[in-house]
Amino acid sequence: MKMLRKIAFGLVGLHALLVAPASAADQVVKVGMILTLSGPSASLGENIDRGAQLYYRQHEAELPPGIKVEIIKRDDTGANPDIAKRLAQELIVRDHVQFLGGIVFTPNAAAIAPLATQSKTPFILMNASTSNLTRLSPYIARVSYTQWQTAHTLGQWAARNGFKRVFIAVSDYAAGIDSEKAFEAGFAGEGREIIGHIKMPQTTPDYVPYMQSIKDAKPDALFMFTNSGRITTAAVKGFAEAGLSQAGITLLGPGDIASDEELDNMGDAALGTTTAAIYAASDPRPENVEFVKLWKKAYGEDTVPSFMAVCGWDGMAAIFSAIKAQKGIVTGEGSMQAIKNWTNPVSPRGPIAIDPDTRDVVMDVYIDKVQKVGGKLVNVTMETVRNVRDQWKVLNPQ
């Protein structure tokens, strides 16, 4: 009898071991995030990652019952399209991800595009900003922004606000040239002219000589685009050191040049910089206040989320919405259908939506000015331009 009972218990136990996982089985939806997490641009990838992880932790309870999300992070180490493509291949073939996300650099996204199409994997761009990227695959959607959305809007704003002579200086690479064309297109018109163009090599450590010759040309404003991070800080400091603000020249640029996390490093040199930004940490909107509070609690009281962090947040929000819309049974086409029509009226950066025709983001763009508030440098919003689409696509229909 004892023996039988032992065997019975044993069988029950075995049964429980074998069956229990299955019945409590969570279906795992895997998201592959390919970001730049090392090298000089590490902070960009880190920010996107932090924003995405924050959203995930906050909202995992909202997922349909029995559905879990697993985020697999990979480092493409920089603008290395071959590495990025291989990582994407591995994520798709080896890890069977149902979503791809992230990407800091445009060439990396362009290399992955054919894979997204072939494998029918939705690919959510959370930074790469070249306009034509969403046309490279029907499975690409972008939640971040394009250079045209910021620079073109700023050009139009500058035209409306009495600027007549503008000098343009951009970092000599694709995004810089993109930004330059966008500003020019927005600014062009009667009585206004671009009085000079300079392309600055990315390896330049010293920007003062450029600033000096710009000062000599006596423009009303300088439109500048430089890569995020160290290069921008050096350029803005060069601007101040050469005395351009004292000479009455306004520094204009996309939000990249006055990113919230870099403002502290730039110091007072950044005061007065006017940018067209997609996000400002100082925005008093309740969703943003909540977001910043969460961020500080998670990552430190003295850290500030940048626009890239918000893009990571929004990207994960888009993915979550697709999962919820399909009640956890995720397919490539189903996800794209959900994402194409996704709107997020409560994003920390303001209401955003995906344009179903272009799969690109439509959002409000803020004209911000860097000012000192309570002893700290912040971006203060002067004007909001609503529902900005990517103008490049409008001007270059397929």
Binding site: L37, S38, A42, D75, T77, G78, A79, N80, P81, D82, I83, K85, R86, Q89, E90, I92, V93, R94, T106, P107, N108, A110, A111, P114, L115, Q118, S119, T130, L136, D172, Y173, A174, A175, I177, P201
Partner: protein
């Protein structure tokens, strides 16, 4: 006393059994670990690239930090041809090789007149100039956004480049085989032996009548050409070319790969590349930043204690083993 491999006796005219190992490994990878094929393809590309550097560095003794220039020339040539419509796989490879060899010849004529630090600097300057050129002419090269729209015709009209990387892997392995056979024949030939002589003592070689400059130039060209093959292969299997093919980082990486495996021993490249990629994969999983720390440490250790890389270590172990056996045999303690 250089660290570059001293004994060539391990390579003999006829193929020895250990030389089959890399090919067995590649076959095993294809059969048992097909999810790793994209990684395997990139490793093969790096092996070919490191082989080309071995000819230059390991055999001829020319230290260069600018070898990526020829990789890049090969990549962009075959990429641009593919975009323009000449998208046959083998034509792309050959075109990349020839373009790189020609550029190598021209550059070699200019910079091989110097040596030491000057040569190092000039090699670097060439790569940096090419990088800037590629960045400056986006209409041709795609600039910083990269060269898009490359699609390669199926091999022999049958095997299409697929998402799983199977065809790409087999194609790259074939290219590797061809390059290896070529290199092996070259280093065992009188020409190849004379290169070693030039590395060890160029003055003496001149004294016995070897046209040193001409040989160096030929070696440089050939090395550039093989690097071009690697570059073209990269462009074709990725169907994309980014500016990173001309970067200083790439020059540094291939140097590290070769030295880790062991320069001047032909098979150093076969060891160095997988180990480098594997180490990167493992060490970077934890926190990507700190992989750099470990790599740096490994390099310092190798440079200080294990000159000649892994093959060198293995070689000296084998030597010590045999020397000991000989001593024991002779009855010496």
């Amino acid at each position: 006393m250089t660290s570059i491999g001293a004994e060539q006796q391990s390579l003999a005219r006829g193929f020895r059994l250990p030389e089959l190992l890399p090919w067995l490994a590649l076959c095993a990878l294809y059969v048992f670990l097909p999810e790793l094929l994209p990684l395997g393809t990139q490793i093969i590309v790096m092996i070919i690239f490191a082989l080309s550097l071995d000819l230059l560095l390991g055999y001829t003794g020319i230290v260069t930090l600018g070898h990526a220039a020829y990789f890049g020339v090969g990549a962009y040539t075959s990429g641009m041809l593919a975009v323009a419509g000449w998208d046959g796989p083998f034509t792309g490879l050959v075109a990349g090789a020839i373009a790189a060899a020609v550029v190598g010849l021209v550059m070699g004529l200019v910079i091989l007149r110097t040596k030491g630090l000057a040569l190092l600097m000039l090699g670097m300057a060439v790569t940096l100039i090419f990088y800037e050129l590629a960045n400056h002419f986006p209409a041709w090269t795609g600039g910083a956004d990269g060269l898009q729209g490359i699609s390669i015709k199926p091999i022999f009209g049958l095997f299409e480049f697929d998402m799983y990387g199977k065809v790409g892997f087999a194609y790259a392995a074939l290219a590797l085989l061809a390059c290896l056979l070529f290199m092996r024949h070259l280093v065992l030939s009188p020409f190849g032996r004379s290169l070693v002589g030039i590395r060890e003592n160029a003055a003496r070689m001149t004294a016995i009548g070897v046209p040193v400059q001409r040989r160096k130039l030929i070696a440089f060209s050939i090395a550039a050409g093989i690097a071009g093959v690697a570059g073209a292969l990269s462009a074709q299997t990725n169907q994309f070319v980014g500016l990173n093919v001309l970067s200083f980082e790439l020059s540094g990486t291939v140097l590290i790969v070769l030295v880790l495996g062991g320069a001047g021993r032909l098979y150093g490249a076969f060891l160095g590349a997988p180990i480098y990629f594997a180490a990167q994969d493992i060490l970077a999983k934890g926190d990507p930043v700190y992989w750099l720390f470990w790599l740096g440490l490994i390099l310092i250790v190798v440079a200080t204690f294990a000159r000649g890389g892994i093959l060198g270590l293995y070689g000296s172990l084998v030597q010590r083993f045999w020397a000991r056996r000989l001593r024991l045999k002779r009855g010496n303690p």
